[in-house]
């Protein structure tokens, strides 16, 4: 048997049900690993007592022969999900001391399925970022290192979740994706990241960034684990009117369907001179894997691909400027009074000036500008129209294909501090943003490594609400790639 902290969800589930291991020993082993991995800064809040109480309750249920789909399985929670009684910061100074009085639906679903909370993971402030360098509580150091021994980013915004799963601090973690924040960190850390269809998971209690794009999903080490975890997270919710009222399929049962007879599209617009050859080569190799598994691979066109990033950087900041208006120092969060006699407006301005980080301010200001009188039509309305064209490109492609295969990100993990320019940072999401704008399910699967031994991911995009085919395709890629690399645990040295 592998060491406890190295077990994946499916393996741990089996051992728990056979009562070979207990949830408590599993949780304790992982908490020890988390403590030893303090240099990664992957976790913002731990509550050991709560974790062990949940594990004990799971053990009692298992002893009584009762179990849910995830009973006793410990998972980490991105700090964007409100957890009742446990500090939830969204990586922001403005919520540094916020203790939610209620539970998000996604986490409530996980606890109902029997899962155990390990802790809350670090993230880019309000999920805005692609490197986890925008956290008010310091960057996450990625567990992988290049040949030069530099500190690398884990990707973002779900950088803490991805780092925790890659470093074997948690077998699975929740994450959220607005333009790539599940898939890009998964690609950077050699993990599996699944963004389901918009409307599959409830957004209730998930701190909002851009409401027409935000969607929860899992980061795990195997495709099977992603299927297990998404099945527990998803489902209809009276508290979020954008969640669809349709049953959640048994994703695990769809895993071994294969791709025989399926048509997989390869979009020509995703070939870019800027993409490193290693990523292009891996993509071409994966085409052969799918063909060998019986799929027909065809070239397709998604003509508005290049417009996706600028469209996203109008739509998402516009929605963010509206969503983040709530942080005003009145009902919760930080309040800054510049002096005793300050007016209400001065209090708002001082609170938001001190409470938000640079990238969040930039995005709120861009959003405010594109929604302001005289600019709304030229920017926001225009972007919504282009978004319709991007969605139409996908709809037309999915008339003939069942899946679309692309790289996940245009590079492997880069060094901390390597991308000071905002637009260069935005380019990280060039391959993930289009499917986000179209609301489609998409997964990143670790498929290989680059010349420096860093993981590279490939993305499969599916039809709306057809996560099952996405999982089946991902399983084929996983099997063919045989990715088994793990980061060297340098963070344990000296501990």
């Amino acid at each position: 048997m592998a060491e406890l902290h190295e077990l994946d969800l499916a393996e741990a589930r089996d051992l728990l049900r056979r009562r070979v291991i207990s949830s408590r020993e599993l949780a304790e082993a992982l908490l020890t690993e988390i403590e030893r991995a303090a240099p990664l800064n992957a976790f913002l809040t731990l509550d050991r007592e709560r974790t062990l109480a949940m594990a004990d309750a799971a053990d009692a249920a298992l002893a009584g022969g009762e179990h849910g789909p995830m009973t006793g399985l410990p998972v980490a929670i991105k700090d964007v999900f409100c957890t009742e009684g446990v500090r939830t910061t969204a990586g922001s100074r403005i919520l540094e001391n916020f203790i939610p009085p209620y539970e998000s639906t996604v986490t409530a679903n996980l606890w109902r399925a029997g899962a155990v909370m390990l802790g809350k993971t670090n993230m880019d402030e309000f999920a805005m970022g692609s490197s986890n360098e925008n956290s008010a509580f310091g960057p996450v150091r990625g567990p992988w290192r290049n040949g030069k021994g530099e500190d690398l980013v884990p990707g973002g915004s779900s950088g803490g979740s991805a780092a925790a799963v890659a470093a074997r601090l948690a077998p699975g973690a929740t994450a959220t994706d607005t333009g790539g924040s599940i898939r890009q960190p998964a690609s950077f850390t050699g993990t599996v990241g699944m963004k389901p269809t918009y409307g599959r998971c409830s957004r209730y209690g998930m701190i909002a960034f851009a409401s027409s794009l935000d969607q929860a999903g899992p980061i795990t080490r195997t495709v099977r684990d992603a299927a297990i975890m998404l099945g527990a997270m998803a489902g209809h919710d009276e508290k979020d009117s954008t969640v669809v009222d349709r049953p959640v399929p048994d994703y695990e049962a769809a895993l071994e369907r294969g791709v025989k007879g399926l048509k997989v599209g390869v979009p020509k617009e995703y070939h870019s001179a800027k993409t490193p050859k290693e990523i292009e080569d891996l993509w071409l190799e994966a085409i052969e894997w799918l063909k060998a598994a019986g799929a027909e691979v065809v070239d397709i066109t998604l003509p508005h691909t290049e417009a996706a990033l600028p469209t996203y950087y109008i739509v998402a900041p516009a929605e963010a400027s509206s969503n983040l208006a709530r942080y005003d120092g009145v009902r919760y969060g930080l309040r800054v009074m510049p002096d005793e006699k300050a007016s209400l407006t001065e209090m708002y301005e001082a609170t938001r000036g001190a409470g938000f980080g640079r990238e969040v301010k930039r995005r709120i200001m861009i959003g405010t500008y594109v929604l302001s009188a005289g600019y709304y039509d030229a920017y926001y309305l225009k972007a919504q129209k282009v978004r319709a064209l991007i969605a139409r490109d996908f709809a037309e492609a999915f008339e003939t294909v069942d899946l679309i295969l692309t790289p996940t990100a245009p590079s492997a993990a880069f060094a901390l501090g390597a991308k000071p320019d905002p637009i260069a940072m935005y380019y990280n999401d060039v391959f993930t943003v289009p499917s986000s704008l179209a609301g489609l399910p998409a997964i990143s699967v670790p498929a290989g490594t680059d010349g420096q031994g860093l993981p590279l991911g490939l993305q499969l995009i599916g039809r709306a609400f057809d996560e099952e085919t996405v999982f089946a395709g991902a399983r084929v890629l996983e099997e063919a790639a045989g990715f088994s690399a793990a980061p060297e645990p340098w963070w344990k040295k000296g501990s």
Partner: protein
């Protein structure tokens, strides 16, 4: 599109964000850069295209309009920076 320092100040005021003097110049450059970059969308023909307002086309789900919680004043106020006699308190707004 290039914006100037006065525009940055106007946006900051609309967004209710205090910008320190030493941040203003950097913001002028960064916001101008982002706005110039997104302007490439102007070249795309969107005549007759309806704006996309919902990520996935499905009718909104209806539910009964009934009270499902209440009597949680203390919970609602628990995170407030300043509470006076069961109310959120703010600086005086009426002279």
């Amino acid at each position: 599109m290039s914006i100037d320092a006065a525009t940055v100040e106007r946006i900051a005021r609309l967004a209710r964000i205090r910008i320190e003097d030493d941040q203003r110049d950097a913001l002028v450059g960064e916001l101008s850069g982002i706005l110039s970059w997104v302007e490439q969308l102007r070249a795309i023909d969107t005549d007759g295209v309806a704006p996309m307002t919902s990520a996935v086309a499905h009718g909104l789900h209806w539910r009964a309009d009934k009270v499902t919680d209440g009597d949680i004043r203390d919970k609602v106020l628990a995170n407030a920076p300043l509470v006076i006699e069961g109310y959120f308190a703010v600086p005086k707004v009426i002279e």
